[in-house]
C-alpha cells in the first residue's frame, strides 16, 4: 500500500477518469496542477506498489511527431480498483475540492 497523500489522490483521480488511456508525467502535471518533483515521485511510488505500469511509447508515434519519446503510465487492474476506492472516500472528496480550488486559483 503506497503512502496516501492528497496529491497522490489527485493523481489517482485523474488517472481513474479513463483507466485504459496511457498518460505521461508532463501531461499529468498540467492536468492536476502539481509540480514536477511531486508528480514523478508519486508515479514512482505507485509503480513500485504495482498500481501503475509504465513503458516507452511506440517509436513510430514520437518519430512522426518529431519529438523525443515519452514514458507512458497506465493503471493496472489492481491500481484501477484501488484508485476508485481512494477517490470515493468521503475524506478525500472533501479535501480534494478545497485543494483544487487552491491549485486553480494559484494560491501557491
Amino acid at each position: 500500500m503506497p503512502r496516501m497523500t492528497l496529491q497522490t489522490g489527485l493523481i489517482l483521480d485523474e488517472l481513474v477518469k479513463s483507466p485504459a488511456e496511457p498518460r505521461y508525467g508532463l501531461d499529468l502535471m498540467h492536468a492536476v496542477g502539481l509540480k514536477s518533483g511531486t508528480v514523478y515521485q508519486i508515479l514512482a511510488r505507485l509503480e513500485k506498489a504495482g498500481w501503475l505500469t509504465s513503458e516507452w511509447e511506440d517509436p513510430a508515434v514520437h518519430e512522426a511527431e518529431g519529438r523525443p519519446r515519452r514514458r507512458m503510465y497506465r493503471l493496472t487492474p489492481e491500481g484501477a480498483e484501488q484508485a476508485r476506492r481512494v477517490v470515493s472516500q468521503p475524506g478525500y472528496r472533501h479535501q480534494s475540492v478545497r485543494a483544487r480550488r487552491l491549485l486553480t486559483e494559484g494560491g501557491f
Binding site: G25, K35, G37, R69, R70, R71
Partner: protein, 290 residues
C-alpha cells in the same frame, strides 16, 4: 588572397572559369570587409561566409547564390559590380530575418537562409544555451519543413539532427542531481525528463520543471531505493553509518564540523567547471564500491 581550398575545389568542379574568377573577387571583398572580426568560436569571421558558400556550392547552386553566400554578412549594400541578382538575394535574406515571412521569400533566399542556419547550427556550441535552444526550436518548426519542400533532403536531415541534439540535451543540474538515483534506473528517469523538457516551450517552464525535480530528488531516490533493498536493510545501513561515526569517537560538535566540511567540499566541486559533477560522481561511486 585566394579562396580556401574546399570552396575553390567545389566551385571549379561545376562552374566555368569565368564564374570562378567572379567568385574569387567576391571572396576578396568579403575577406576585406570582415577583416579583424571574429566568430563567437574565436575563428576569423570570414570562415562563416566561406562555409555558407561551400554548402551552396556542394548543392551545385549558380554563381549568384554562391556569391550571395560569400557576401551575405558584409556591412552595407552589396557593391554594384557584383550585379543585381546577388544584391537582391542578400536584401531578401535581410527582409526574411526581419519579417520571418517564409511565404514571400524566393527559393534562392530560402536556400541562402538554410545554408546560413546549417553552418550556424554546426558551430552552435559557442552560443549561450538559451539561444541554442531558441534557434534549434525555430529550425525544427520552420526551416526543416522549408528544406523538405525544396527537396534538400541532406540539409533537412542534418538540420533536424543538429537541432534535436540541442533540444534533447540533459541540463547539467538535472544530470548532477540524478546521481542520487539508483544506477540501474537512473538513465530511464533522466531520458524521461529530458524528453518532457523538450516539449516545454518556455524557458520559465523548463526552469521550474528542473528545479522541482532537483528539490524532490532525495525523496525520489529514497522511494526508488526502497524497491532495491527492503526497508529493514535501509534502516540497518543508516544505523551502520551512524555507528561508524560514533566508533571514531566524534563528539556532536565535531560531527557538525564534518558535515559542514562535506557540504563545503561539495560546493567547491560544483563551483568549478563542467567536469565537477563527474568528479563528485566518481567519488560517490568509489565510496559505494568500498
Amino acid at each position: 588572397m585566394t579562396m580556401p581550398d574546399p570552396l575553390a575545389a567545389a566551385v571549379s568542379s561545376y562552374l566555368p572559369a569565368e564564374d570562378v574568377r567572379f567568385l574569387e573577387q567576391a571572396y576578396r571583398f568579403a575577406a576585406e570587409s570582415h577583416q579583424g572580426q571574429v566568430r563567437k568560436s574565436g575563428d576569423p569571421y570570414i570562415t562563416h561566409p566561406v562555409a555558407v558558400a561551400t554548402i551552396l556550392a556542394e548543392q551545385r547552386c549558380g554563381k549568384d547564390l554562391v556569391g550571395a553566400g560569400l557576401l551575405h554578412d558584409t556591412a552595407g549594400p552589396v557593391p554594384e559590380r557584383f550585379g543585381a541578382p546577388i544584391a537582391d538575394l542578400v536584401a531578401g535574406l535581410v527582409r526574411l530575418e526581419d519579417s520571418h515571412d517564409i511565404e514571400s521569400a524566393s527559393d534562392g533566399v530560402l536556400r541562402l537562409k538554410l545554408a546560413d542556419r546549417l553552418h550556424n547550427l554546426r558551430t552552435i556550441a559557442h552560443v549561450l544555451p538559451a539561444r541554442q535552444r531558441a534557434k534549434s526550436a525555430e529550425t525544427l518548426r520552420i526551416l526543416v519543413p522549408v528544406a523538405e519542400r525544396l527537396d534538400l533532403t541532406d540539409v533537412s536531415r542534418e538540420l533536424s539532427a543538429l537541432a534535436s541534439g540541442v533540444l534533447r540535451r540533459t541540463p547539467r543540474v538535472l544530470a548532477a542531481a540524478a546521481i542520487l538515483l539508483p544506477k540501474s534506473v537512473r538513465s530511464r528517469w533522466v531520458a524521461e525528463w529530458t524528453g518532457e523538457l523538450a516539449a516545454l516551450p518556455t524557458r520559465r517552464g523548463r526552469a521550474g520543471f528542473v528545479a522541482g525535480l532537483t528539490i524532490a530528488m532525495p525523496g525520489l531516490a529514497r522511494t526508488l531505493r526502497r524497491t532495491e533493498r527492503s526497508g529493514g536493510n535501509y534502516v540497518l545501513s543508516a544505523g551502520a553509518i551512524a555507528a561508524t561515526f560514533l566508533n571514531t569517537g566524534l563528539t556532536w560538535p565535531a560531527a557538525v564540523v564534518a558535515v559542514a566540511a562535506l557540504a563545503g567540499l561539495a560546493a567547491v566541486l560544483f563551483a568549478g567547471d563542467g567536469t565537477a559533477a563527474k568528479r563528485l560522481r566518481a567519488l560517490i561511486e568509489a565510496w559505494r564500491r568500498r
